[in-house]
């Protein structure tokens, strides 16, 4: 019964989404604000209905109700509760429902806290958000119903895909979707601005918190996914440039460009048309990613939903929204007045350059991802575009951008002083250069790019810190005054610097990966293997039973100069229901580096094939991403960006007047 209620709630949500979209748009035509106001309760109602529907599916999974096809195919009664819950979105139908839930949640957020928004803008934003909801609710109801029943119901489920039985599944997709789908609201704001034909700094101030939330979650989601792959796949790779990953990277690149350009728009009322374009681009890439992943066009061995009917449906949605918004853009963008003039050497100019590099990188990823598909369509020829290509094109572009980061951050608005910036960054540049040269000298004949990247990383970190210091420190001030000056600095300045430090930290982790070492060897018990600065001894190999799997566990001890520093238990996990084996890597974090061990087959003499890696500073890769997200969060906490803050609601200047902070 609860399952049917869930299905019904989803249909109800569609009806509410129709109201949410059509009535306000009609109202906007008639210039009738009371019709526009209908969007608010409709958006809240739509969210409640989708939430109820999602809760029903969670309930069915928790209850192991195998009469529901989705539960029978993706769950098992013996699975731990946490995987029963995360299994809800570990499949096409359920993850689509999560997608729509988050879509509705962002709409509800605007409806609930958007009292400060001009009525017409809010109505139009919610209407566009409603249009997106309609498309995806129709998609779920028509092609991917998660509530379909089975008759007769099986006694036991097929179990969740073993690789997905991991904490990663509980965290990674919700975060990633919060990011992906979060850009929908940015898109809706852009579309609403185009419909109204009016955009100003206030618009930028309203949209920025949403863009930052989406960006933070996308950053964390990508990093989490990368770490998940790292510890699951058994050889320590963390980024593969494969189409599915690229699908998440493209909205991130466009979104990163957006949060920078929207800052220009908010402060200086410039780059309006471009910012709108980026908003459309970011969400278009989110949609493209959804299409690539779920349509089956990418690869024939895809385990996730390769139903051509679904592919055509999403392609239609894609064409409708991207095409529609671009037509709207072409019609209305020329009407948007350009504001805020600036000199080429200025913060604005630097951000234009930042946008140029980020969008170019995005275009490179896009080409590399879709070129093989297009080429095969037109000529029948099959090629592969893999990591070496992306490292060469996009990697180089991003390195150049990294060089520009501290410079842009140090430039003043309107008209900057390049000479002064160079003086301020001298220390950072010198330290970076010196470390690069030293590293290259120590590892002579080693990798070339890695020392450069490491030097660049230090330069970014120190450059960002010295930029903060330059804004706080003045000669002759007491400690108390300095603290007061630091506190007076807007949080967004701290956040921006922190996010850039995060970039440097990640880059340092990536550079360090070139200096790791590996040992792949058949090892007897008690035999020690040297890897990096440590030695690893295999102690024993035993069997261990889990709730729905069997583990072959190796115990190993890590020593440094004979002293035990850690022990690890790499394992091979065999799942009985699906007859599959996964690798459970044994990982010990030593400072910021990691010893990574994975086991292979056992020999007849009791020896075991072992892959051992020393990965220096590897944790910095993900730590850096967390710092970036934290920086984004700090920007979000900045007073002037607090969304729906009560104070300005009363004394709001008329729309179109310059924003005050």
């Amino acid at each position: 019964m609860i399952v049917e209620i869930g299905h019904y709630a989803l249909t109800l949500a569609l009806a509410l989404a129709l109201i949410q979209a059509i009535v306000p748009l009609w109202g906007a035509r008639l210039r009738d604000e009371s019709l526009g106001a209908v969007a608010t309760p409709a958006a809240l109602g739509q969210f409640a209905a989708v939430a109820a529907s999602f809760a029903a599916l969670v309930y069915a999974h928790l209850d192991s109700d195998f009469s529901v096809a989705n539960v029978a195919e993706n769950s098992h009664s013996a699975m731990p509760t946490i995987y029963k819950i995360s299994g809800v979105w570990g499949n096409h139908e359920g993850s689509m429902l999560l997608w729509v839930l988050i879509l509705a949640a962002f709409g509800a957020l605007v409806a609930a806290f958007g009292r400060g928004l001009p009525a017409m803008l809010r109505a139009n934003v919610l209407a566009v958000q409603g249009l997106i909801s309609i498309a995806f609710l129709l998609f779920i109801l028509m092609t991917s119903n998660p509530f379909a029943r089975l008759d007769p119901a099986p006694f036991e489920g097929h179990d969740l895909n073993p690789v997905l039985q991991d904490l990663g599944l509980a965290i990674h997709p919700p975060m990633l979707y919060l990011g992906y789908v979060g850009f929908s609201i940015v898109f809706s704001f852009a579309a609403a601005a185009l419909i109204e034909g009016r955009i100003d700094a206030a618009w930028a101030r309203f949209v920025r918190p949403f863009a930052l939330v989406a960006w933070c979650f996308l950053t964390l989601g990508i990093a989490m996914g990368s770490y998940w792959a790292y510890y699951t796949l058994g050889w320590g790779g963390f980024w593969f440039w494969d189409p599915v990953e690229n699908a998440s990277l493209m909205p991130w690149l466009a979104g990163t460009a957006f949060v920078h350009s929207v800052a220009v728009m908010e402060k200086r009322d410039a780059l309006k048309v471009w910012t709108i374009f980026l908003a459309i681009l970011a969400f278009s890439f989110s949609l493209l990613g959804t299409f690539l992943v779920r349509s089956g066009v990418l690869t024939s061995v895809h385990a996730f939903a390769s139903d051509p009917q679904r592919g055509v449906f999403i392609l239609l949605i894609l064409a409708l929204f991207i095409g529609g918004s671009l037509i709207l853009f072409a019609l209305r963008a020329p009407l948007l007045r350009q504001g805020g003039l600036f000199a080429p050497i200025s913060r604005e100019g630097a951000l234009v350059l930042n946008n140029l590099f980020l969008t170019t990188t995005c275009a490179g990823v896009f080409l590399g991802t879709l070129y093989p598909l297009a080429l095969e369509q037109f000529t029948g020829e099959k090629i592969t575009v893999g990591a070496p290509f992306f490292n060469l094109t996009c990697g180089v572009l991003l390195l150049i951008l990294c060089f520009l980061v501290p410079i842009g951050q140090s430039l003043a608005w309107k008209r900057g002083d390049l000479h002064g910036v160079a003086q301020r960054l001298t220390l950072a540049a010198l330290i970076g250069l010196a470390s690069a040269v030293a590293l290259a000298a120590i590892t002579e004949g080693g990798p070339v790019l890695a020392p450069i990247a490491a030097g660049l990383a230090l330069y970014i970190v120190i450059g960002s810190l010295s930029e903060l210091a330059a804004r706080i420190w003045r000669p002759g001030l007491s400690a108390g005054v300095l603290v007061a000056r630091a506190r007076a600095l807007p949080l967004s300045a701290w956040g921006g610097a922190l996010a850039h430090i995060g970039v440097g930290v990640t880059l340092l982790g990536l550079a360090a990966s070139a200096f790791g070492s590996e040992v792949i060897a058949t090892t007897r018990m008690g035999e020690a293997r040297h890897v990096g600065p440590y030695e690893v001894t295999m102690d024993s190999v035993t069997s261990r039973a889990g709730p729905n799997y069997q583990d072959l566990v190796a115990k190993a001890t890590i020593r440094s100069d004979g002293i035990v520093v850690a022990s690890i238990e790499p394992a091979k996990r065999s799942f009985t229901t699906r007859q599959m084996t996964t690798s459970q890597a044994g990982i010990a974090t030593l400072w910021f580096g990691q010893i990574y061990a994975a086991i292979g087959d056992q020999g007849p003499d009791g020896s075991i094939a072992v892959r051992l890696y020393w990965k220096p500073l590897v944790t910095l890769i993900w730590l850096g991403a967390c710092i970036m997200a934290l920086g984004g969060g700090l920007c979000l906490a900045d007073r002037r960006l607090r969304f729906g803050a009560p104070a300005p609601a009363r004394a709001r200047p008329p729309i179109g007047a310059p924003a005050t902070s």
């Binding site: 895909n161 690789v163 997905l164 990663g168 990674h172 997709p173 990633l176 996914g225 990368s226 998940w228 792959a229 699951t232 796949l233 058994g234 790779g237 593969f240 440039w241 494969d242 189409p243 599915v244 990953e245 699908a247 992943v293 990418l298 690869t299 061995v301 895809h302 385990a303 996730f304 003039l341 140029l356 590099f357 969008t359 170019t360 275009a363 490179g364 080409l367 590399g368 080429l375 000529t379 020829e381 099959k382 090629i383 592969t384 575009v385 893999g386 990591a387 070496p388 290509f389 094109t393 058949t522 091979k572 599959m580 084996t581 994975a598 292979g600 087959d601 094939a609 072992v610 892959r611």
Partner: protein
């Protein structure tokens, strides 16, 4: 979305006995030759996986190619010879780095082209844009005068 990737890798496992990425028993005793084999493997695609190199892949086909590479290295073939042999057998599809040829020119030069066009657009846009706020039109002047007169 990572789920899907992982699922794909799993797909590589289905039907195969769980072989793994490079195993000790496949490796050559000569470290120099083995290093060559590893470098070559990192450039070659596992044909049944998604963008994974054969060095990292768990699939049996990847294992077969790894073994084949090592046999040919031991026979004294150069990296280019081995690569050419594999391309003649499997096509360009096996190379993770697509070759330069007319069909891939747009792929290779696409991003630099976007960069160049973008830079050009910015420069042209700047030179077209006035550096100071535009002067008031005659009509605006008249309105301003009217306002100043207090009408």
């Amino acid at each position: 979305m990572r789920i899907l990737r992982l699922a794909t890798i799993l797909a590589c496992l289905i039907g195969a006995s769980p072989a793994q990425a490079v195993q000790p028993n496949e490796m050559l005793a000569d470290t120099g030759l083995e290093a060559r084999a590893r470098d070559l493997s990192a450039e070659l695609r596992c044909m049944v996986c998604q963008n994974q190199s054969i060095d990292d892949s768990d699939a049996t086909l990847a294992r077969d190619i790894r073994v084949l590479i090592r046999q040919r290295i031991v026979k004294g073939e150069s990296n280019t010879q081995i690569r050419d042999f594999l391309v003649s057998r499997y096509g360009d599809f096996i190379l993770l780095k697509p070759p330069f040829k007319p069909e891939t020119l747009l792929l290779w030069f696409g991003a630099p082209l976007v960069l160049a066009l973008g830079a050009l657009w910015i420069v042209l846009g700047r030179s077209r844009r006035p550096t100071a706020a535009p002067a008031l039109s005659a009509e605006e002047e008249a309105r301003l005068a009217a306002i100043q007169r207090g009408e």
